[in-house]
Symmetry: C2
C-alpha cells in the first residue's frame, strides 16, 4: 500500500485515478453503464485510453472499481442506517428517508447504480459480475442481522429472516426503479410506508 508517496523509478504518473473513477461513476449512474464507453470517459476526463487501460486493465476492471467506489457512496450509508441501534420503526423511517431524498439538490442522479447493474449483470465481465454478487450477498447479510436484532427486541413480524431480507431488498429495488421512471419522491415514500412498514411492524392502514 505504500507505493503512492514513495518516489517511484520511472516517469511520474499524471493520471488521476480518483477523478476517472468519480467521472465514470457519475456517467454510469446518470446514463446507465451500457451507454458510456471507455472513449466517453477518456473525453470526459482528458485521460488517454491506454492510460485508463493501464490503470484498470479492462472495461471489466473499470466497472468493478466503479462499483467498489459506489459501495462507499450509496450502499454503505444504507448499511450504516441498519447498524445504528434504533427502534425498528425509526430505522424504517431512516431507510425511507434516505431512499426518497431529493437527489437534484445534492447533484446526484436518481435511481441506484447498483440496482441498475444488477438488472443487467449479463452485460458485464466476470470480475464485475462477481463484485455484484458479493455486494448483493453482503447487503442481504446486513439486512438479515438487522432483522434478527429487531426480532430479538420483539419488533419484527414473524417472517423467516431470509425471506424478510429478500423482501426488503425488493422494496429498495422497486423504489429505485420508480425514481428512475420519474415517480415523485413523495409518492415513492407513500408506497414504501405501505410496502415496508405494514408487513414488518403492522403499522399500515386499517383493513377495510
Amino acid at each position: 500500500m505504500s507505493k503512492k508517496s514513495a518516489s517511484a523509478r520511472g516517469r511520474p504518473k499524471t493520471l488521476d485515478r480518483d477523478q476517472i473513477l468519480q467521472t465514470a461513476l457519475m456517467a454510469y449512474w446518470e446514463q446507465g453503464p451500457a451507454n458510456v464507453s471507455i472513449n466517453d470517459i477518456c473525453h470526459l476526463t482528458g485521460a488517454s485510453k491506454p492510460g485508463v487501460y493501464r490503470e484498470f486493465e479492462s472495461d471489466d476492471g473499470l466497472k468493478r472499481s466503479v462499483l467498489e467506489q459506489y459501495r462507499g457512496l450509496a450502499i454503505q450509508p444504507v448499511i450504516d442506517i441498519l447498524e445504528r441501534d434504533q427502534p425498528t420503526l425509526e430505522t424504517l423511517d431512516a431507510l425511507i428517508g434516505f431512499m426518497t431524498q431529493e437527489r437534484a439538490p445534492l447533484g446526484l442522479p436518481s435511481g441506484c447504480l447498483f440496482v441498475m447493474m444488477r438488472a443487467q449483470s449479463h452485460h458485464f465481465g466476470p470480475s464485475t459480475r462477481e463484485k455484484l454478487t458479493m455486494l448483493r450477498s453482503d447487503l442481504l447479510g446486513h439486512y438479515e442481522t438487522w432483522i434478527e436484532r429487531s426480532k430479538s427486541r420483539g419488533e419484527f413480524a414473524d417472517i423467516p429472516t431470509e425471506i424478510a431480507a429478500l423482501f426488503m431488498d425488493a422494496q429498495h429495488g422497486g423504489a429505485m426503479r420508480m425514481q428512475r421512471e420519474g415517480v415523485p419522491n413523495t409518492t415513492i415514500a407513500r408506497v414504501l410506508e405501505i410496502s415496508l412498514k405494514t408487513p414488518i411492524v403492522g403499522a399500515g392502514p386499517a383493513r377495510a
Copy 2:
C-alpha cells in the same frame, strides 16, 4: 387490412414476419434486448437484413413490434387475472401463481421482458419508449380499476388507489428481478405472500 391474402403485384414475399417477431422476442427475453443485434436476429431466422428493415423499418420499429407481441404473451394474462370477478384474496393468489410459475417446463425464459425494458428504456428509440410508457400506464390503469372494485367490496385496505397501483407494480417488478437473479420461485412466492397480501388484505403474519 386485406392486403395479405390478396395476390399482390410484385414478387411474393417469403419473409415470415411472425417468425422474426417470435425469434426476436425470445432472444430479447433470454439475453436482454441490448445484447441482441439485428444481425443476430437475421442469423437466427435466416432472414436478410434489408428484409427485416423492410418489414420493421428500424431497430426501434422492431423493438416496438416485439413489445406489442410480448403484451399478448405475458402482460395480457395478468390483466385477465385482474378482470376475472373474484374475491381479492383469490386474485392475489392467482397473480402470485402466475408470477412464480416454473418457466423452464414451458420453454419460457425467467424474468419479464417488459420489466427489463422499462429498466433500460433510455437505450431505445422514441417509438419503443412510447410503447413502454403506454403499456405501463395501461397496466397501472388496470390495477387501479381492480383496486377500486376490490374496495367497493370492502376487500381492500384503505390505501389511495394510485399508491396501491404503484405498489402492486413494484411488487411485480421485484419478483421478476428476483427470478432473473436466480431466486427459487418458491422463495419468491413466499416474499410475495408477505409483500402483497399483508398490506392489501392484512393477511400477513401476526405482529410481534
